[in-house]
Symmetry: C2
Subunit: 548 residues, 2 copies
Amino acid sequence: MSEFFDRHRPMLDAAVEALRAREFWTPFPEVPSGKIYGETAKEDGAAAFAALCGQPFSIPGHPEESRLGREESPFGLQLGITYPAASAPALIAASQGAADALAAARIEDRVGVCLEALVRLNRISFLIGNATMHTTGQAFAMAFQAGGPHAQDRGLEAVALAYAEMTRFAGTARWEKPQGKAQPIVLEKHWSVIPVGISLAIGCNTFPTWNSYSGLFASLAAGNPVIVKPHPAAILPLALTVRVLREVLAEAGLPANAVLLAVDQPGAEITKTLATDPAIRLIDYTGSGAFGDWLRSNAMALLFSEEAGVNTVTLAATDDFDGMCANLAFSLALYSGQMCTAPQNIYIPKGGIPTDQGHKTFDQVAQALAGAIDALLSDPARAAGICGAIANPATLERVAAARASGRIIRDSAPLGEGRTATPLLLALNDGDAACQQECFGPIAYLIAVEDADTGIARASDLARQKGAITAALYDTDEARISRAVAAFARAGVNLSINLTGNIFVNQSAAFSDFHVTGANPAGNASMTDTAFVASRFRRAMWRRPAAA
Amino acid sequence: MSEFFDRHRPMLDAAVEALRAREFWTPFPEVPSGKIYGETAKEDGAAAFAALCGQPFSIPGHPEESRLGREESPFGLQLGITYPAASAPALIAASQGAADALAAARIEDRVGVCLEALVRLNRISFLIGNATMHTTGQAFAMAFQAGGPHAQDRGLEAVALAYAEMTRFAGTARWEKPQGKAQPIVLEKHWSVIPVGISLAIGCNTFPTWNSYSGLFASLAAGNPVIVKPHPAAILPLALTVRVLREVLAEAGLPANAVLLAVDQPGAEITKTLATDPAIRLIDYTGSGAFGDWLRSNAMALLFSEEAGVNTVTLAATDDFDGMCANLAFSLALYSGQMCTAPQNIYIPKGGIPTDQGHKTFDQVAQALAGAIDALLSDPARAAGICGAIANPATLERVAAARASGRIIRDSAPLGEGRTATPLLLALNDGDAACQQECFGPIAYLIAVEDADTGIARASDLARQKGAITAALYDTDEARISRAVAAFARAGVNLSINLTGNIFVNQSAAFSDFHVTGANPAGNASMTDTAFVASRFRRAMWRRPAAA
């Protein structure tokens, strides 16, 4: 049973070391290349996806009371896939049935299952990429990366940290207490890892695997059965994940029901019923703050959440005006602003900023940003490859409604194929209400503030009040940069400074960036810090006098 | 400012290693000996305590709107000490005023303050011992150990683990991402530790320092100001602690108000007002399950708790009948059963057990236990030194009421001095209601069960339902011992097997035993596992392109 663990031990050890060093590392290549994934990988992935469409999705041995599933691709395709569905009590009973065997397995066996499953998921990254594309609206290249290798990185990171934590302290000890001139007291002590209970992973529409893998794999490694509850519009990527995990569990002699899929449909969600069942002891949740509040008020389980926030950029000065505008244009356009890390509010001194091209007024900066977006999206194929499609029709309505909330600098427009929208840029005055909350989607506000320090203050205050996952700053004044570093740290936001070229504020790299600090209302789940894994298990001891 | 850290670095390093190895280790000797603590330490401690009585207790610079304090020793003395008291809003404002400077301090500076304070507290262990004795009712030797060195051990353990956790990942990194044939992307990244917010430590009457130090020191090391809210009957040990901490903070150039004392009086407690203030982000609580439930329902803060439970002993067989009875007699008599680790329910097969003295019937076992207690307490001075006094008058009422709940095997009786009660032993039948909940104090039930496996099942089931911190088993059948190990681990209870001689189920040693597993209703605060420290801080990053 420890074959999987032994096979992947070098990868595990490297992951644990990478977590410590926080340098760049990944075993899962992000380039969707045939040279890496096999010459026919691209075609094979597309064919495998096509073969799933219009068919019942098979998960051998999974509880099944009915078949549900009505996924529609934001690019227009009806997936026509149905999944085995069961009631919350049936799923919990099946999960409980798997709990004892999973808890009794050795740490190495569970960790080995997780590692093998991640490697197998990596191999089907092209299929996962297609599944992610047609459920989230991400363009293929992004869907491959975020749904495949980057999600696998996050899963591996969680497994590695859970493993490090479960083995952090000695598992046995000889405890010898001196008694002066008398014989010492000698006890032998033994500790075992005790799982907490059933874990519920509530997935989101936009990043079904990337946002779910950390909690799913951390809980499973620690011995907790996991019920995976996908967003009803983005089931397939997680259904594939569940199927792979169940296969590996069974091969390892562990109960496949240690991982279950909880499928439901819009208007008949079973999330609340599951989340409030006393058997559910851990919840990983990505979604709205409103439902996060509901979970905090109604669920007994320990909650790890990623919720809404308002990400900001503050423009103070730059020595690469074109590079700054191009970089921000990409950050705003990428997946049409539907990333939890996408910027929304851009604070610009009303008097403008100094740049390598001389002083630029507020309007000049605004026009340059609009122009950079136009240039980026001028080629239709490239535009489609960056913006992708809009996952949720409500986002289009939000864009339409937002047009009246400020002075339009750049209007949003559809692209060729599917449900699409390019970035809407609006100018506001400091204090305007529209930018004080998250407007999820391709909506950005350019806010005229008194000066750069005011922008930093507005951005960091808003992060503290409403939450934020990312912040960006462009500046050339090192003293002000230091003040900003302190202000954003106090607000619990990760800050990116002067990014230009092929690295963007939206990007959060596993093994290096802690995604979500946990220190503001955007969520308490930091992927992956120790707090994220350490509460998923407990230790119980037995001790007795040591044999002489 | 790092002088304290440098001075105590060897102790810190040794503590971190001891935590990993879980072997016996302590820098704070538990023996109240003049050879260790100074020839006049005993007299000096008694004199210092006497000098405090009848006086206003001075905490320089502490918020003070009034003076409160009406402590009465369970041994009869009126302490007559008043403490500076302030309203909850005033305390929170003072705490907030200290927060930024504490957060801005280096990890090493805060950890250094904690280490120096623990060493200074160790030096006044005789004073702490007297203060603990006359607020808790513990006999002096126990008050010295549990209130002094053992509590200091728990504090050091928490500081060491918090330090290890805060420095676990690199604080800076050069992140270099390959870009094929193009130049790599190179970012410099920097992380800082962000405290969570104000921490509230709610102390208990029976172990004011031992149960409070872990949370207090872990929070402070992580940069969170701490408001220490003692039980109104046991203020002095924590007031001394707060004073020492404030002195050391001030010497380190940090705000003394980073540690505050929240004094109140019975009937006018400010605990609820403090606990529900949104500024309070962490609560460490030791006390009843009822108030624990109230905190869970009403406080927004992250809660670490130690609550009620029913600790059990299961007697299956023994090859040292006298040793077993003597060991259990001590566990039942020690501090009159007022330890959170004291056994209450003793399950005995109704047909009796095999022993090295031949078969013993249920009644013979019961009488032998009663006889062992009588023998242990036959000398009045020794009895007083073991039983101490009863902290809370309600406990005496509970003992009186319990007399009707079963067949009396050994009656409780007062000792000479103060408010005292020796163990009450009652025989019950399996299924009787009296033993299904915690009866805090010197009350033990001997429960006749079908057989030893039934006893193990009853004991572990009750732990799962009502919570338990300790369990004990006496057995000679290795197969049954293995079954018991698994059953108690599943119930989340630490199990002690076949203890005889000078080691008792009640004892929980820092650096080795995790006190409270967190895996049953007796509490979620495991002292000290990683989950206990890792949620007390967060990390924020800033990153920028690396200089060429």
